[in-house]
């Protein structure tokens, strides 16, 4: 099966080569047969990548320990569930997995548009094939996952061997989230290839700029949604598994995943400027180019060892390939832009500084500044080594100091932007839209202050969260009120109806609501508490309102590891609340161990208990406990963000139907001064 997989991979390379070369020839000659064959070759590439990936999965399932990659990342006792995760746990497999996810996107695009967009698709096909070609070159000739296991014999040649068992999977990867976090994150990274391909294709084909935006909006949102989920699942994994009490450590690899997310978020906002007002066309094209390049840069950072990271794969020469690819991509983008930039001129003027347009400009500014600040902070140790000869570390405190104010500014714009009208916003409209949210925000601030909140950033964050949350609720309330008056339906049904009528707008509001929840959770970090103590059996340790009583210790034998557990009774104000079982898992196969944190989670706070192990000096079990307020809001907020994105992806129900229905409703109550024309105007508001 290893030969089969390897053969499929090399065939995929050949097909991608044809899709690329044949595609260019098709663009030049416009020969219909060439166009068709290039497209079909692109689809065959994808099919062969699927076959190759499935072959590698099969090698894991069949415990084939004659393949070096399988030996390094699996063993017989590893559960089936984690054998799937072993596919992307190392350099070679994760690169093939990358190609696999990209192939899903490429196949979907080529199949969906097989008989549409005739002039544009050959360009798209060539660009996609070019990207696939790069990854297939790596997987075939630089880091093949199908390399046979061999040992050097006396004459220096390699003899093929097979091992009885493998080295096992890295213990920190043996958690359920690790089975879903990388696929989500990689789906985000690879997904941004589609808007990139369409943007570059449209520029090369000299399209004035609107159409590629319409075609790729949904693809971009899907990629963005996966990227968001990937980041949050990664954060949750770090929180639940690593046992350091936090979920975001500004590690270079975490930063690398955040960078394209920031530019992708900027793009999803600025794209509206282009759709509604024909502005920011150059900006949008470059945002997509940069987002794609940041995805490649992220891969480079993770795999080259340029920056030290706890996540990084083993150092290898693979980085130079990515640098080369990045240079080629940048060169092609620059050349295409300078050749055809005149097709991207803006068409409208800015009527007022207080308008949706200017809020989008500032939103993009803040997102981009955050992105560049994170990038330069991440690379600063490398710069400092170049210029001064010694590395200067840039750790979490730096990133927090830089990004917290930017995040708060962004949160403020999240509340303000959507309520400003396109072109110009009147003073009356400003007062009407912001009076109550501002009052409620300030009231929340005063209340938080009275309850002892003195951390400035946390206080500002709470004020802004209530402000933004109120603007969103107000928008739903106003819209639902109109629908309710017309249809007589309940508030909930009216909200659902309203959302389905303009999924993009109200889906966006739901995403914003999710972001508000995430910010509430982030603000909670200002109030974290922790305690660490050696705890003899029968003794307690106090943290916040909780007393942790170590009742006993036990050992649990599992198939792939042995777990040493603490049995801890949690008491709040001397009343039993629950039992927690923090454990340490020892994996005999690779002589490694890992933690399994026990968390008692409420909306108010998390009680986070880690069994740190037996202190080798005193032979006493050590417990490390944290009170992390509001963390649950981050995870729930993430779910709301995903839900909002799904809503925004749904097609909107035509407003016209609803209005017609409303007009025919005999004896409907008065509209409270709201005329139908105004209703229609607001529906077109976004």
């Amino acid at each position: 099966m290893d030969v089969f997989g390897s053969f499929a991979l090399i065939l995929a390379f050949v097909c991608a080569l044809y899709a690329f070369g044949g595609g260019i020839a098709a663009i030049v000659t416009r020969h219909p047969l060439l166009i068709k064959s290039a497209r079909q070759s692109g689809m065959a590439t994808c099919a062969l990548i699927f076959v190759s990936t499935l072959s590698l999965v099969y090698l894991f399932f069949s415990d084939n320990y004659s393949v070096a990659y399988v030996v390094s990342h699996s063993n017989r006792d590893l559960s089936t569930f984690f054998k799937v995760a072993a596919l992307w746990s190392g350099q070679e497999g994760s690169l093939l997995f990358w190609s696999f996810l990209l192939a899903i996107y490429v196949f979907s695009v080529l199949f969906t548009y097989r008989s549409k967009n005739g002039e544009l698709m050959p360009y798209v096909g060539v660009i996609l094939a070019g990207v696939q070609l790069f990854f297939l070159t790596i997987s075939n000739f630089v880091a093949s996952p199908f390399k046979a296991l061999g040992v050097a014999n006396a004459s220096g040649a390699f003899d093929l061997v097979a091992r009885a068992d493998g080295n096992g999977l890295n213990p920190v990867l043996q958690y359920p989230e690790m089975v879903i976090h990388p696929p989500n994150l990689y789906s985000g990274y690879t997904g941004f290839t589609i808007p990139f391909a369409f943007a570059l294709a449209a520029l090369l084909a000299r399209y004035p700029g609107e159409k590629w935006i319409h075609l790729t909006r949904k693809w971009t949102m899907i990629a963005w949604c996966f990227q968001s989920m990937g980041i949050l699942l990664g954060a949750h994994w770090a929180y639940a598994v690593l046992g350091w009490g936090g979920y975001w450590g500004w590690d270079p690899v975490e930063n690398a995943s955040l960078l394209p997310w920031l530019t992708g978020t900027a793009f999803l906002h600025s794209v509206m400027m282009q759709e509604k007002r024909g502005m920011m066309k150059v900006w949008n094209v470059w945002l997509v180019f940069v987002t794609f390049m940041l995805c490649i840069l992220g891969t480079l950072l993770t795999r080259s060892g340029v920056v030290s990271s706890v996540h990084a794969f083993a150092q290898s020469s693979i980085g130079s390939w990515f640098v080369g690819f990045l240079c080629v991509v940048a060169g092609v983008c620059l050349a295409a832009y300078f050749k055809n930039k005149d097709y991207l001129k803006s068409e409208n003027q800015l009527d007022s500084l207080v308008s949706r347009e200017s809020s989008f400009l500032f939103n993009n500014l803040v997102l981009l500044v955050a992105c560049v600040a994170v990038l330069s902070g991440t690379l600063f140790p490398v710069f400092s080594e170049w210029f001064t000869g010694s590395r200067i570390s840039v750790g979490a405190p730096f990133f927090n100091k830089v990004n917290i104010p930017l995040g708060l500014l962004l949160l403020f714009l999240t509340g303000v932007g959507p309520l400003l009208a396109w072109r110009k916003t009147s003073t009356e409209s400003l007062l009407r839209n912001f009076k109550w949210p501002s009052i409620l925000g300030l009231l929340a601030g005063v209340t938080a202050f009275m309850f002892g909140v003195r951390e400035m950033f946390a206080l500002i964050c709470f004020v802004l969260c209530v402000f933004v949350g109120s603007t969103i609720v107000q928008e739903f309330f106003r819209g639902a009120k109109v629908v309710r008056i017309r249809s007589g339906a309940s508030w909930l049904a009216s909200c659902v109806d309203l959302t389905l009528r303009n999924t993009r707008r109200y889906g966006g509001y739901i995403v914003h609501l999710g972001m508000v929840m995430i910010f509430i959770g982030l603000a909670g970090q200002a109030f974290n508490k922790e305690v660490e103590k050696e705890l003899p059996i029968g003794s307690t340790v106090k943290i916040g309102n909780y007393d942790l009583l170590l009742q006993s210790m036990d050992q649990k034998q599992e198939k792939n590891y042995v777990a040493d557990r603490m049995i801890v009774e949690v008491l709040r104000n001397d009343k039993p609340v629950m039992m927690l079982y923090p454990e340490r898992r020892n994996f005999p196969t690779n002589q490694e161990s890992g933690t399994m944190v026990a968390i008692y989670s409420t909306l108010r706070e998390d009680l986070y208990v880690v069994y740190a192990g037996m202190n080798p000096q005193t032979n006493l079990p050590t417990v490390h406990a944290f009170i992390n307020p509001l963390v649950k809001w981050v995870w729930w907020g993430g779910m709301v963000v995903v839900m909002g994105t799904i809503v925004a992806l749904l097609p909107s129900r035509a407003a016209v139907v609803v209005l017609a229905k409303a007009a025919s409703t005999a004896g409907a109550p008065e509209l409270g001064g709201m005329r139908p024309a105004q209703v229609a105007l607001r529906e077109g508001h976004d």
């Binding site: 967009n117 005739g118 002039e119 544009l120 449209a202 399209y207 004035p208 159409k211 319409h214 075609l215 046992g243 350091w244 450590g249 024909g278 502005m279 706890v310 005149d342 097709y343 001129k345 803006s346 068409e347 409208n348 003027q349 800015l350 009527d351 500084l353 347009e357 200017s358 400009l361 500014l365 500044v369 560049v372 600040a373 330069s376 902070g377 600063f380 400092s384 001064t388 010694s390 590395r391 200067i392 570390s393 840039v394 750790g395 405190p397 730096f398 830089v402 930017l406 660490e532 340490r584 020892n586 490694e592 161990s593 933690t595 740190a612 192990g613 037996m614 080798p616 050590t622 490390h624």
Partner: protein
């Protein structure tokens, strides 16, 4: 007699007894300060990217407090006990371990560049946005093509792209692409 001696002894101990909570408080403060300073220093154990106040060797066989971090905290304690302020204690540690021990870049020398960069990005970006907004405000509406024809000095492509050509290109794109 013995009773009197005991009373004198107790009286002598009284200041010490009264001092004990104060000393304990001072020690705790000193410890807090050491942790605060330790939060700005990277643990030099070489196995993590954590601060000296928070290195727990996550993932190791024993993820309790790291010995290197503990000894670093003790050293900071000693500096604090010598009456050094936070900055002096921090500098003393940096002198001993080198610039690699900074968890965040110093606000002097080349490290200052790291702090100035985000500010420059924000200022530069804001300036750019203001320039863009001014240009957009001056631009008459819906004249993209005309503007391009007028500003033909910008290269060959500018000369070639007339409003008619742009309209034709847009029309072509509309016909050739479907949602």
């Amino acid at each position: 007699m013995q009773n009197r001696k005991a009373k004198i002894g107790l009286l002598a101990l009284l200041p010490l007894l009264l001092m004990a909570p104060v000393a304990q408080r001072l020690l705790a403060d000193q410890n807090d300060r050491a942790h605060k300073i330790g939060d700005k220093l990277k643990c030099m154990c070489g196995g993590c990217d954590q601060s000296a106040a928070k290195c727990y060797h996550v993932g190791g066989t024993y993820s309790g407090p790291c010995d290197t971090a503990k000894s670093m905290l003790k050293e900071i304690d000693a500096h604090v006990a010598q009456g050094k302020n936070d900055e002096q204690a921090l500098q003393a540690m940096i002198t001993e371990y080198g610039p690699l021990a900074y968890l965040e870049p110093p606000k002097s020398g080349f490290g200052l560049v790291a702090w100035l960069m985000p500010i420059l990005y924000l200022l530069g970006g804001t300036g750019l946005v203001i320039v863009i907004m001014k240009r957009w405000r001056k631009r008459p509406a819906a004249i993209a093509g005309a503007a391009m024809a007028a500003g033909a000095g910008g290269g060959q492509a500018s000369v070639n792209v007339t409003p008619e050509l742009l309209a034709r290109a847009r029309d072509l794109a509309r016909r050739e692409t479907e949602d």
